[in-house]
């Protein structure tokens, strides 16, 4: 299946990656090539096959529903590009 420029632009938008208009045709072409490669999967008979959920059959462990740590606001904010008054700061979201 070939990907057109509009689809490439929509995917970039969904992925929250800014792609300039002039870069879209090349991107669409690359997507098309990758999808063509992927479409070999259509040759496989998958009738009645379960999609894999976990590569190793295992029962996921459960832990006790209790508080085990906390009180590390400074550590959590230490790497933030913009932190103010104990919070992550972002551009205005609501008017």
């Amino acid at each position: 299946m070939s990907i057109d420029i509009q689809t490439a632009a929509r995917v970039a938008k969904l992925a929250r990656i800014r792609v300039e208009d002039e870069a879209l045709p090349a991107l669409a072409q690359e997507f098309s090539n990758i999808l063509e490669f992927i479409e070999q999967l259509n040759e496989v008979d998958v009738e009645g096959v379960e999609p894999m959920v976990s590569v190793t059959p295992m029962r996921l462990k459960r832990r006790a529903d209790g508080v085990t740590d906390g009180n590390m606001q400074d550590k959590i904010l230490a790497n933030a590009p913009d932190a103010r008054e104990g919070f992550f700061a972002v551009p205005k979201v609501v008017e």
Binding site: A15, F37, L41, M52, V55, L60, N79, P81, P91
Partner: protein
């Protein structure tokens, strides 16, 4: 003692325990080698202060008679592992300046076992790549060169810095991670040993995630014995990773007897792909002969869905990546784009991610976004997961028929030149993983062992694939192959 950096883990361990050398001496020798090897681009964050402090502590432990498995042994750590207080940026600009407040489980186990960290190692950004060219640090370089040719070659990827550093004797061993071949392909390109254990053997906690259902950490070492020693220190159950297996870890080194009499080795006929270089084909045949001479039974087997492993991988891995890498939004850590007047939070996300991610990472995130998007989820993602079930079943059938290990080439070629694939379609680069990716999809352990040189004087490796959780038996078969192949070549120093 001379040439301390050339020691293997086992040799250095024994010398330390005998008191023939100290960890500080070993560490200083490695730090000097690293200082002189910037041309390899392997170490991207050097940590000499931490290393010397750890070395002194290790010497004290050894003196006190408490010398655990890795005590005093200087290693390098792939940049994908979070190391407390030390930059850990997965070779990405988007994690520029990120210094974790915590230590990954694998590195803390290694440190508990006494290992010394020399620094962080170059890699492909977020472990996406097969040449270590997708990196914010500049490409890592292979210490090997073609005979009579000065072209700089790739060490492979994504664990290219780890491979280059071990092959060039900058450290005694290094950590790697493998999602589609990222330990085994660079190990083969640089003439070293690398094992990807069974999915769930090593905790993924604190390792920057690429594709969580495929990612596994493992050691990259100078030989099979070292791989056994270091793997044992790296693996074990971790409550912080819900997919980590609660199984006992055997003494892998003690299982290296070299006796493989009565074992059955499978040769998968589907791996004899069209256009396989004669030299690779010959190497493979010779490897099979070596195992046969050592007393194993060699049989041809069929893994009928092999051809579909790469296309399935290039649906599943990007799908998981698009979800895992959504966390890089410029809010909690790393890079945030500068905004112009009037730009809002969506502009911040889009500009941050466009500036911070390299092109291959952007491509995979977007492919993943596409295959998961409404209307395509069944056609691509669910179909790929069904094919994955079939690929795993191929292996299960082979093991059920009595096969103990499977022998295959590690790579479709020897190391290629840096920049040589630049103009190629991304799919051409993806084909590097054709022999390695199947077992990530099946969750199986695989080890790459150097077994020969090609006509250009470059190392070539073979790969052994084992039954789940039987890394000990697999390493023993690898040990027998290593003994028979007798690969001892080293790259000539030019850096």
């Amino acid at each position: 003692m001379t040439d301390l950096t050339k020691l293997k883990l086992a040799e250095a361990r024994d010398a330390l325990r005998k008191g023939d050398v100290t960890s500080v001496e070993l560490t200083e020798a490695c730090l000097t080698a690293i200082e002189g090897a910037d041309a390899l681009g392997a170490f991207v964050h050097k940590t000499p202060e931490i290393a010397l402090e750890q070395a002194k502590a290790a010497d004290a432990r050894i003196k006190a008679g408490d010398a655990p498995a890795m005590c005093g042994l200087p290693i390098g750590v792939k940049d994908l592992f979070c190391t407390k207080g030390v930059p850990s940026q997965a070779a990405s600009s988007i994690l520029e300046g990120f210094t974790p407040e915590y230590e990954s489980t694998v590195t803390s186990q290694l440190f508990d076992a006494g290992a010394v960290m020399l620094g962080k190692l170059n890699m492909d950004e977020f472990a996406m790549g097969s040449s270590n060219e997708n990196t914010c640090y500049g490409a890592a370089v292979n210490p090997w060169k073609r005979t009579g040719d000065d072209t700089k070659l790739t060490p492979g990827g994504s664990s290219g810095g780890s491979a280059s550093a071990v092959a060039a004797d900058l450290c005694l061993a290094a950590t790697g991670t493998d999602t589609g071949g990222s330990i085994r392909q660079p190990a083969a390109f640089t003439g070293i040993t690398g094992i990807k254990p069974t999915y769930g053997r090593c905790s993924r906690w604190g390792i920057v995630a690429y594709a969580s259902s495929l990612d596994q950490a493992g050691p990259m070492t100078k030989d099979v014995r070292d791989a056994a020693i270091m793997l044992q220190a790296m693996c074990g159950h971790d409550p912080k990773d819900s997919t980590s297996a609660d199984l006992p870890v055997p003494d892998f080194e003690a299982m290296l007897t070299g006796d493989i009499r009565g074992k059955t080795i499978g040769i998968p006929k589907e791996y004899r792909v069209e256009g396989m270089p004669e030299e690779i084909s010959k190497l493979w045949d010779e490897g099979a002969k070596m195992l046969e001479d050592a007393g194993a039974k060699v049989v041809e087997i069929s893994l009928p869905h092999t051809k579909y492993a790469l296309p399935a991988y290039y649906v599943i891995a990007p799908a998981e990546a698009s979800s895992n890498l959504a966390r890089y939004d410029g809010v909690r850590y790393g890079h945030r784009a500068k905004l112009s007047q009037g730009e809002g939070i969506n502009d911040m996300y889009e500009k941050t991610r466009a500036e911070g991610f390299g092109l291959e990472v952007q491509r995979r995130i977007m492919v993943g976004t596409y295959v998961l998007s409404a209307g395509f989820y069944d056609a691509y993602y669910n179909r790929a997961r069904k094919v994955r079930t079939l690929i795993k079943k191929d292996f299960e059938d082979a093991f059920a028929a009595g096969v103990d290990a499977i022998l295959a080439p590690a790579t479709p070629s020897s190391a290629f030149g840096i920049g040589e694939m630049k103009t190629a379609d991304p799919v051409q680069m993806y084909l590097q993983d054709v022999f390695t990716v199947t077992l990530n999809l099946a969750g199986l352990p695989g080890v790459a062992v150097p077994t020969g040189l090609d006509s250009k004087g470059l190392p070539l490796g073979l790969q052994l694939i084992g039954r789940p959780w039987e890394e000990g038996d697999l390493l023993n078969t690898a040990y027998a192959l290593e003994q028979a192949a007798g690969f001892v070549a080293k790259p000539a120093k030019w850096w």
